[in-house]
């Protein structure tokens, strides 16, 4: 097992969400999801809103909802920078539901001054959270 391990760090402005050895890291790249295994080539990628999946040294899978960010792969070290990353069992479902309904309301109103793009993104983030939490 040990020969398949590489280092992963998931860092947000609030805290280091994950730091440890894993065997697999799957992220939603903006041009499509991708998986990183040991000895991956150096890579810099944008991450979209979506689900990050990791398999740790004990072969256990955990999933995170992210609102997008960046991944750097270099020398068997993966660093993911994200503004938010929440593990599936730590997602505040009530809050995500409230955010989803608020965003939907804003989009439905179409009142002047509504930032449609922003509301759409907020909706996307909330739905993603719920999706990741729901399967947890």
């Amino acid at each position: 097992m040990a020969e398949k391990l590489f280092r992963l760090e998931i860092v947000t402005p609030k805290k280091v969400v994950f730091s440890g050895d894993v065997t697999s890291f799957t992220a939603p790249g903006v041009v499509g999801g991708f998986q990183v295994l040991k000895s991956h080539a150096p890579l810099l990628s944008n991450i979209a809103i979506g689900e990050v999946k990791i398999i740790d040294a004990a072969d256990a899978e955990s999933r995170y909802a992210t609102s997008g960010g960046f991944v750097e792969v270099h020398d068997n070290k993966v660093v993911m920078l994200a503004e938010t990353a929440e593990r599936s069992d730590q997602i505040d479902v009530t809050r995500a539901e409230a955010a989803r309904d608020r965003a939907r309301g804003r989009l439905a109103e179409k009142a002047a001054g509504t930032d449609v793009e922003r509301a759409r993104l907020a909706l996307h983030r909330a739905i993603n959270r719920l999706k990741v939490a729901g399967r947890g």
């Binding site: 760090e9 860092v11 947000t12 402005p13 609030k14 805290k15 280091v16 790249g29 903006v30 041009v31 991708f34 080539a41 150096p42 890579l43 810099l44 990628s45 944008n46 997008g68 960010g69 960046f70 750097e72 270099h74 020398d75 660093v79 920078l81 503004e83 938010t84 930032d115 922003r118």
Partner: protein
């Protein structure tokens, strides 16, 4: 001379005030601890962000990026970060004073015929002050420090980014209290937009990153397009955290002083109270003795 009852009432009043200031001091202390912790936990992100950014800017021409290139400044947006609440010593007043001075300087440096600097206020105190002054307020954010979240920083950055790209202003500066120590705050003025080039230089030893040929997905240009706004979000977040920690520090110090003053007042008043009481007793005794003497002489 104050009567005994008056003095006693004052002592009780001051004691009550002291209880409040002590409680506020303790609340501020615990909030400060949390705020300092929040600052410390941004460091790993800050380091990585700085690395990526300084690496990627070498791949693009800053003059071509709308958020990096500086342009002729017609109008400036100044972000003023104050607290929502008072009772924190000179925290708000010093900042507002410095902001007002800076506004005057900005106005003086502006071209003829332009409209004058715009303001974006964070915190109720600054919003109240500059509204009364009749300043041009572009946007205001009140009450965010109660439950400070990264999304607040994102909202503010969204606003300024949109305005900046729409050429409503050509430069964005921010004035805030930096947390130096519990008893010390430093007022800082920083430029947010366009992003100053020295901010992008990063650590001197341009680490291993630069030597490695990365695969860029989708492309280095697109990555930096996504990275720059997030860098701004993070800068704003850091500033909000700094101001928050500085505010709690200032409040803690102010309330400590207030409790100390109350203690002194109580001591003085207790002395006065005891003096007055002793005087009253002496007076009474004198009256009794002289009354008794008079009676004996009469008898």
């Amino acid at each position: 001379m104050a009567t005994l009852r008056e003095i006693r009432r004052r002592i009780t009043g001051i004691r009550n005030t002291q209880k409040i200031t002590k409680a506020m001091q303790m609340v501020a202390a615990s909030k400060l601890r949390r705020a300092q912790g929040a600052i410390v936990s941004t460091r790993p992100y800050a380091r990585k962000m700085g690395e990526l950014l300084s690496h990627l800017v070498t791949k693009v021409d800053p003059a071509l990026h709308p958020l990096l290139a500086s342009r002729e400044v017609e109008n400036v947006l100044l972000i003023v970060v104050t607290a929502d609440r008072g009772l924190c010593g000179p925290f708000n007043s010093n900042l507002i004073k410095a902001a007002a001075q800076h506004l005057v300087a900005l106005r003086a440096g502006q071209l003829e015929g332009t409209t004058g600097p715009l303001l974006l206020t964070v915190g109720k105190k600054g919003a109240d002050h500059f509204r009364k002054q009749g300043s041009r307020i572009y946007a205001k954010h009140v009450g965010i420090f109660i439950d400070l979240d990264f999304s607040h920083a994102r909202t503010i950055v969204n606003e300024i980014e949109r305005g900046y790209l729409a050429r409503e202003f050509d430069k964005v500066e921010v004035i805030y209290n930096e947390f130096k120590s519990v008893i010390q705050q430093r007022i800082v003025i920083e430029q947010l937009l366009p992003i100053p080039p020295e901010e992008l230089k990063g650590p001197r030893d341009l680490h291993a990153l630069a030597q490695v040929e990365h695969i860029y997905e989708p492309s280095s240009g697109e990555i930096i397009d996504a990275l720059v706004p997030r860098h701004l979000n993070f800068q704003m977040w850091r500033i909000l955290l700094e101001s928050n920690a500085a505010e709690q520090g200032a409040r803690m110090t102010a309330m400590d002083n207030a409790s100390e003053n109350a203690k002194e007042l109580i001591r003085d008043l207790t002395l006065k109270f005891n003096n007055a009481r002793q005087a009253a007793i002496t007076k009474e005794l004198l009256e009794i003795v002289s009354g008794a003497n008079a009676l004996r002489r009469a008898g």
